[in-house]
Amino acid sequence: MPEGKFCNKTPITTDEQLKATLGDKGGKQYYEEMNHLDVDSDKLWASIQKTMKSRTKTWLEICAHCGLCAESCFLYQVNGRVPEQVPSYKIQSTLGVMVKKKGKVDNEFMQMCMETAWSKCTCCNRCGMYCPHGIDMGVMFSYLRGLLYSQGFVPWELKIGSGMHRVYRAQMDVTTEDWVETCEWMAEENEEDWPGLEIPVDKEGADIMYTCNAREPKHYPEDIAEAAILFHVAGENWTVPSEGWEQTSLSMFAGDWECCKDNVLNVYAALERLKPKRAIGTECGHAHRATVIEGPYWAGRPDGQPPVPYIHYVEWLAEALREGKLKIDPAKRIKEPVTLQDSCNYVRNQGLKDVTREIISYIVEPGYFVEMAPNKEHNYCCGGGGGFNGIGKYREQRNVALRKKRDQILDTGCKLVIAPCHNCWDAIRDLEEEYEIGIRWSFLKPLVIGMLDVPKHLLPPEE
């Protein structure tokens, strides 16, 4: 059987296909069909020839096989340091072999590649910092994922994820109506406590256009309310777009590059339509990477920048605290040991290590902040990055991966972890569920709201 009903080389583009694939619980039939999926070697090789440029070619060629990347990989560390988890081995035995064989590989090989690409690498890019030759295996695994996706060898959840983005332009089935209603609902819900609170939709020429992660309207709408409260207290002139509000990209994890481009163009179209002075994305690492760091290249913007300055939530928050738009009541600062999770996607991929620590300096009583070791750009992945969190087939491997973060947190002795990234937040929640180490975790928004020094005129009138 060359192509299956669910497992095939064609992306999901309709709601019916999406629902049908979702109906295949756990991807049982999907993975069964994968066992019979043919590899289109000619197409694979043609694609490699067209897209594999000197950077990747050179990386594959000059890898000195020195093994120095081994220790840099947290998956190598938590998996008993088995040699099969050495980053160089992982990429040479997959992409390296695929190139050497000019795409003439079989189904079994492709399934091995899939397992390696999605369960043995979270594309955290840490190895790139430790390779003397500057070989970034995370980058190469992202590339390999693209090749695998185009051949239909992609985990079930990510096939659906990129399908969601294609159909709904969101990682979950949140429609434009759902989104706008959620905004209205959240504004109403909170206007009693915060008189004058608004979530303005499609306001042209605002100072800020705010975008988020579809998980927020779907599962934690209070996050949108919290963003609104903080913008409100800071006196910002802001808006959200009715269309182009979702900045995550499961298609980036899936390797569906065509879909990545479509998504980011949708967000940029909102910027061009509403003409805000700048855009601010929510507390999410991969959303930031997709829209701000990689997105401009997918969209073909030669300067590598989004159409207007586009910053991560931590940058706005640091600025608001620095400029006094938001004031912290010193009595309410955190007075317990607290640590910070540096997200790979905005620290190692965009250098936002100092602003997060600046925020800490405002909200944590001096002496209570404990750094993880290692930290900043040398920090380890939360354990669930690159889509790992969401793939049922690799849940066991993901749970092992969480051990690194568990141990790092235990070493700090803190019971509270600040995680300004959806994916890290999820991974830390899961690690508590799995290993019960007795910790709490939080985004920045609720923490800051809890310790705000709110000007009297913004508070509800006293009865």
Binding site: T58, C63, A64, Y297, R348
Partner: protein, 225 residues
């Protein structure tokens, strides 16, 4: 034989080796793609060069990059091997006498004792690099026959050079073997993984540019390599 090896053959070797490396450098740069690599090389050249230079320096200065500090033993062996391998042939007195005869100029020559020492350092370093390939599972799994072959090609000129220098056995034979193995090493540079003599700088520069432009450099935070 000696005249051939130090005459036409040597010139041919230099032409192929340095010409080949030059071609590789040009091909590398031509094969970069801002959109596929996702690095805006041209519009942010200044940030890029700054990041690239930082990245190269971090890895050619012993113990500067965090990597080198986390593995002090390896770092010592690695730098000793590479310094011995590169410095000895360039500044060896005998080589410079030949250079003087052929081109009319020469470089400062190393005292004989220092040159001997460096050659031994290179050999011992090479031996350690070979042993760790066998001893450590994380290196063994990625090591192939090709890696051993390249190590042999790299140290052979030192083995033969030292035998000739201590005049063990037939001097003329070992001298010819030394010249030939040196030429094989030079010829291998552009065609094998030894191309890292040049491509190391290109690759490091590229990743440095990536970090300097997109991954923090433009946010004003330098990566601590």
């Amino acid at each position: 034989m000696y005249d051939f090896l130090t005459g036409p053959m040597l010139w041919l070797t230099f032409a192929v080796s340095f010409g080949g490396l030059l071609v590789r450098a040009v091909m590398y740069v031509k094969g970069l793609s801002w959109q596929l690599d996702r690095v805006a090389y041209r519009p942010h050249m200044k940030y890029g060069i700054r990041g690239g230079v930082r990245s190269i320096l971090a890895f050619i200065i012993p113990f500067k990059a965090r990597l080198w500090r986390t593995r002090p033993g390896f770092t010592l062996i690695f730098f000793a091997f590479h310094i011995g391998l590169l410095v000895t042939p360039v500044f060896l007195e005998a080589h410079n006498v030949m250079l003087q005869n052929a081109l009319g100029f020469s470089l400062p020559a190393l005292p004989t004792g220092v040159a001997d020492g460096l050659a031994w350092v290179c050999l011992v370093g090479g031996l350690f690099l070979l042993l760790r390939r066998i001893a450590f599972p994380e290196v063994r799994i990625i090591t192939t026959f090709y890696d051993y072959l390249l190590l042999v090609i790299s140290v052979l000129p030192f083995v033969t050079g030292l035998i000739a220098r201590y005049e063990m056995g037939d001097y003329n034979f070992w001298l010819a073997a030394h010249i030939l193995s040196g030429e094989i090493w030079l010829l291998a540079l552009p065609f094998t993984k030894l191309s890292h003599v040049l491509l190391f700088f290109m690759s490091r520069m590229q990743l440095g540019m990536d970090y300097g432009i997109k991954r923090g450099g433009m946010k004003g935070t330098d990566m601590a390599w």
